[in-house]
Amino acid sequence: MIRLSSNDTVDVTAAEATDDTDGDAANESATDEVREAILSELEDEFGEAVVGAHIAAGVDITVRVTSEAWATTAEFLKDEMGFEYFNFLSAIDWLPSPFGRDMDSQVDLALDPAAEPAEPEAMEQGLAGGDTRFQVLARVNDVAGHRAITLKVDVDDSAMSMPSWVPVYAGANWHERETWEMFGIEFVGHPGLRHIYLPGAFEGNPLRKDYPLLARRVKPWPGIVDVELMPTEETDETDA
């Protein structure tokens, strides 16, 4: 847990309050009956296939299932639990950027390559845990009951494929095309997995962390102080 920048912190409520929200444990202070009920219903149905869960009381629920249960979870949520509304589907690449944390260093790495950290950070998955580099996440709503749930699933690095949700939620069609294009994750059973935004001959998967954003690599990023010093000035008083 990284604290807020302390040099000029005038209010510490944000930093204090975030101390114990890390990891899988839900907030102990409050219970959330509606979301607990969703979780227990899923656990009753799928048992071992529910491999991770996170409930932020009064805010949100995230449940991680195994890839074998990915399609059946959707069916169960839609047909049995009333989550008829398809909200979105996407993926997360948890690989720490191999190009360094440009923003955190506050130094433009193209100008000063020495500032690049030598050791890559360890990969760390977010809410509801995970073991793989890629995770697919999707969100569905129960419109009448005013409930919603975010589902996550680990994508096996060697297979890079997932069962498609299109037979269950028709709206998943374009979202899976986008995820396939941006992350290179195959969706088995999708009726027409083809490019949605990029031209057909495009190579690479732009939203992967190891896909370089060239504009950022060759030019100082906007916001960095890149003013040349006047000949009379000796030191650069960079305004942090």
Partner: protein
């Protein structure tokens, strides 16, 4: 007002359209029609490849990407305050509303809450961007069926709103006014009185459109029973906003939000969610017209009850968002817009998934356009009301 004069007739037309989807016995030589990328109905550059059988569409395939700017990737190398500049340009007709869910997601991760006055002003600008956005739709929809005048009325009267947004934020189209923890500035002097006058003008604009467009026989003939979306289909495609409320689904994130987002004060106001049971192009138009009226009422109430106090919470000068994940969605002019923000505790977000309304709203078109007649393509696209920046991001 909601009642449709002859529902049986409507059902008959809808059934015919449904039949047409399967009733393709007569073998004729098909043709492929390219609509766009430049077309007034596309609000940007969208191409639709339609396979025709005579006058009937047998398959339609929208081709996107002409405006893809990669905001999700760009957000990963920008600080949180810089991201709002980008996302302003997603739905460019209601820009301020784009900023709000992202800022709320960042506030949720930082566990910061904007002071009451900031929340109220945020809500007033949020609703005004809805008015500015939908007013243009109300005029534009008439253009799609051949009436050119109403869109000039819309452009004329939208200026009243844009002037007020400009007076408060400095930007007519891209305010970039929302900040983590509050707002950039307080309202200028005399703004409240002028805005109330603008709301009166918007209400009379709504009446004008109702008489001029909605009562028009041609408009009704071109929109009623056309492009019918049943509620269950709409839900499985993830339609939102007036598109799903026009199919009779009583769901509005402003009232029924599931992400526990504070920061907006809709639940302290007296307003209602309008729905229409028909699910056709007309009902989507009708719901949007009522929404503008509700929004003007909300703006009036907010301006009457505006609390005093600071407009900015105490936040560090350099904003670092603690590690975590948050998804916040709001009811934007085009429908539900949400941001799934993943933070690793740095200056920039680790991953931002932008859930934009038009992407889902458009994904139904291959289903919806199948079986319709060529002139109805434009009416249906117009009534779904998408903005290309909101699809392509």
């Amino acid at each position: 007002m909601t009642a449709v004069s002859s529902r049986q007739q409507l059902n008959y037309i809808a059934a015919q359209a449904a039949d047409a989807r399967v009733n393709l016995e007569i073998e004729t030589e098909g043709m492929t029609l390219n609509i766009g990328p430049q077309h007034p109905a596309t609000h940007g550059t969208l191409r639709i490849v339609a396979k025709l059988d005579g006058e009937q569409v047998i398959a339609a395939d929208p081709v996107m990407g002409y405006m893809h700017r990669g905001y999700e990737k760009l957000s990963e190398v920008r600080t949180y305050p810089q991201v709002t500049t980008l996302i302003n340009r997603i739905d460019w007709l209601g820009s301020f509303a784009n900023e709000v869910p992202f800022i709320l997601a960042a506030e949720q991760l930082m566990e910061v809450e904007a002071p009451p006055r900031a929340q109220w002003i945020r809500t007033v600008l949020f609703e005004m961007s809805r008015i500015a956005n939908i007013v243009l739709f109300l005029g534009d929809m008439a253009v799609q069926v051949g009436a050119v005048t109403p869109v000039f009325f819309a452009f004329r009267d939208r200026e009243h709103i844009l002037n007020q947004i400009e007076a408060a934020t400095g930007g007519r189209f891209h305010p970039n006014f929302d900040r983590i923890g509050g707002l950039k500035d307080d309202l200028p002097k005399g703004w409240i009185v002028e805005t109330k006058q603008a709301m009166k003008k918007m209400r009379s604009f709504c009446n004008e459109i109702e008489e001029l467009v909605m009562g028009n026989e041609i408009f009704q003939a071109r929109t009623r029973g056309i492009g019918v979306v049943p509620a269950d289909i709409g839900l499985s495609y993830g339609l939102s906003g007036a598109n799903i409320r026009g199919s009779g689904v009583d769901w509005d994130v402003r009232r029924d939000g599931t992400t526990g987002a504070g920061g907006l004060v809709h639940n302290e106001l007296d307003w209602r969610v309008w729905t229409h049971p028909d699910g056709d192009s007309f009902s989507r138009f009708w719901v949007r017209l009522q929404e503008v009226r509700e929004s003007t009422k909300m703006v009036d109430q907010i301006l009457d009850g505006l609390p005093s106090g600071p407009i900015m919470a105490k936040v560090p000068r350099i904003i670092k968002v603690p590690a975590g994940e948050a998804y916040v969605e709001t009811e934007n002019p085009l429908g539900v817009m949400g941001y799934y923000v993943v933070s690793k505790g740095g200056l920039a977000p680790f991953r931002v998934k932008i859930r934009s309304a038009s992407f889902n709203n458009m994904s139904i078109t291959p289903w919806l356009l199948t079986g319709v007649y060529v002139p109805d393509i434009i009416t249906i696209l117009g009534s779904l009301y998408f903005i290309l920046g909101d699809i392509d991001r």
